[in-house]
């Protein structure tokens, strides 16, 4: 995970995360986008594996066609040329709560083995060590988007055994009770980190390492995880970014390298 390794690979860890995440949007239609990496991921997917992808932003934009990389989820470039601009009530009620969103990106300061996320506070709520932004739309997105993709850099302090606060629900640990929730959302489907990719086990709902990125080892994963990780018996290697994916990222999506180098 050092600079030398990245030079040898010919791409950065972040570019690996972006390419691996974009492939998970294959065939997706309506995607709730966040700023930063998810935005680049969605725009890459739109140019590769998900030509019909509609970019949906909680600011009230459906079908955005940004002409520049948005600086926030409320960037004016998202409004100009969009399919629709709705009130925020309509966006959350008619689009999200009613079940139109296939997939959404979430992240957080902390995630646990079942994909529950904390974006609220580190330390006790009433006497916080670090006050984080809070839910925003994340709590209802986690409940209503049919699939949740998580992109997070991996570290012991963020992949934790116990969350300090559960902002957005993931899997409960009991798939039968998850199925009985009656939500549109099926919880997190995959987690992409700078070390590898994870799925969630059908029988336990637990995060399971599926692939390691080129150059990464199980020791790296253990060293950056707050619990003993489940590993797939078919553990593989993540497909590296293709020349075309790298070209799109570097020339079209993030030419200054602000998000990807």
């Amino acid at each position: 995970m050092n600079a030398t390794a990245e030079r040898d690979l010919g791409y950065s860890r972040t570019e690996m995360m972006i390419a691996a995440s974009a492939r998970r949007l294959e065939g997706a239609k309506n995607c709730f986008v966040g700023v930063g990496l998810p935005n680049i991921v969605c725009n890459l997917a739109q140019r590769t594996v998900a030509r019909d992808l509609q970019l949906v932003y909680e600011s009230g934009v459906f079908g955005a066609r940004p002409e520049r990389l948005p600086l926030s989820i409320g960037d004016p470039t998202l409004a100009t040329g969009a399919t629709a601009i709705t009130s925020m009530f309509e966006l959350f009620a008619f689009y999200l709560q009613a079940g139109l969103i296939d997939v959404a990106f979430l992240g957080g300061a902390q995630i646990d083995r079942f994909g529950n996320l904390n974006t609220t506070v580190i330390g006790p709520y009433d006497t916080p060590k670090v006050r984080l932004p809070g839910s925003g739309g994340a709590c209802e997105i986690a409940i209503h988007a049919r699939h949740i993709l998580v992109i997070m850099r991996q570290a012991k302090r963020s992949f934790v055994d116990r969350l300090d606060f559960r902002t957005s629900p993931g899997h409960s640990g009991d798939p039968a009770s998850d199925a009985a929730r009656g939500w549109h959302g099926t919880g997190p489907t995959s987690v992409v980190t700078d070390l590898g990719t994870y799925g969630f086990d059908d029988s336990t709902g637990e995060m399971t390492l599926m692939t390691l990125h080129q150059g990464m080892t199980l020791d790296d994963v253990h060293a950056n995880m707050g619990w003993e990780p489940k590993v797939s018996p078919d553990l593989g290697q993540t497909l590296e970014p293709t020349t075309e994916e790298l070209r799109l990222i570097r020339e079209e999506l993030d030419p200054t390298g602000a998000h990807t180098r």
Partner: protein
């Protein structure tokens, strides 16, 4: 602006300056700081840099919100100091999710006692906010929802691109909760880039978000949203949002900024002049005109 804030914003009020990234009326926030209002409860979905400035300016004792950050940049340091370190004093908070805040305004605007939503399931948010309450559907025992209470600000301040002298206000681009906050507010200030003739409003009634009948004061104040943006008029000044991170990290730097850019300036016109016309020219976007529609004439 000075008169509108002096007449309509009172110490102890709940004040909502809405606008989701777009159309955030910084000029109103600065005027509230300048007039040294006190003990305000500030409501906003995303407190943004404007509430960091107002909290630092000492006008607020409580915050109602759903996402607390400098969008696309990071933290709001003045607010964090108040919450984490009680520096210089504690700040009471009451938090929701975005959908919860939106529906609080909808309930307030619709004169409803509460609003039901499907959210908060298995989340810790209701544990720290007892106003978010689970409820079983009266029509279906198996369906549980959570309800949120109405939000009726004493004063709602919303920015619009244009309004007529009666306060009929038109908005395009991201709509945020401008309409809901205006209808929910007991007193309403509409600030706009341009005051236009009533005929301009009547030419395109679908674009009217707020009717003058709910508006108490109309203020024409160009660039009032800076460093936020007004679609078609000026871009977000992202350099300022980035700079605010540095300014707000250090209380002394922040106080110096407030003195220079708020207290030492009499009006927003002084603020515009201090930035200089080259600054405003650089924020002006290119054109992207909407097509026209034919409403038809039915005489």
């Amino acid at each position: 602006m000075r008169d509108a804030v002096a007449d309509l914003v009172r110490d102890g009020d709940t004040v909502a300056i809405e606008g989701f990234t777009h159309l955030i009326c910084f000029a109103a926030g600065h005027e509230i700081i300048r007039q040294r209002k006190r003990d305000l409860t500030l409501a906003r979905m995303t407190p943004d840099v404007i509430y960091d400035q107002m909290v630092a300016g000492g006008v607020a004792s409580k915050l109602i919100f759903s996402w607390l950050g400098n969008p696309g940049v990071g933290s709001l340091h003045a607010i964090r100091r108040r919450i984490e370190d009680h520096d210089p004093e504690p700040l009471e908070i009451e938090e929701y999710s975005h959908f919860g805040m939106v529906c609080r305004y909808v309930a307030g605007a619709s004169n409803l006692p509460f609003f039901p939503i499907r959210s908060y399931y298995e989340s810790d948010i209701p544990k720290v906010n007892p106003k978010i309450v689970p409820m079983t559907s009266p029509y279906d025992d198996a369906t549980e929802v959570y309800v949120v209470p109405p939000l009726r600000p004493d004063v709602s301040i919303v920015h619009a691109q244009r309004a007529d002298a009666s306060g009929d206000a038109q908005i395009w681009g991201l709509l945020g909760c401008q309409k809901e906050a205006a209808f929910a507010g007991a007193r309403v200030i509409v600030v706009c880039e341009e005051v236009v003739e009533e005929s301009v409003i009547r030419q395109d009634p679908n674009r009217t978000a707020i009717p003058g009948v709910v508006v108490d004061a109309v203020v024409e104040e160009p660039f009032a949203c800076h460093p936020s943006f007004a679609q078609g008029y000026y871009d977000r000044d992202n350099a300022f949002y980035l700079d605010w991170d540095r300014i707000a990290r250090d209380p002394e730097t922040l106080d110096t900024w407030l003195k220079e850019w708020v207290f030492d300036l009499g009006t927003h016109a002084d603020y515009r002049e201090k930035w200089g016309s080259a600054h405003w020219d650089a924020l002006r976007p290119g054109d992207a005109m909407s097509g026209e529609v034919d409403y038809g004439r039915y005489a």
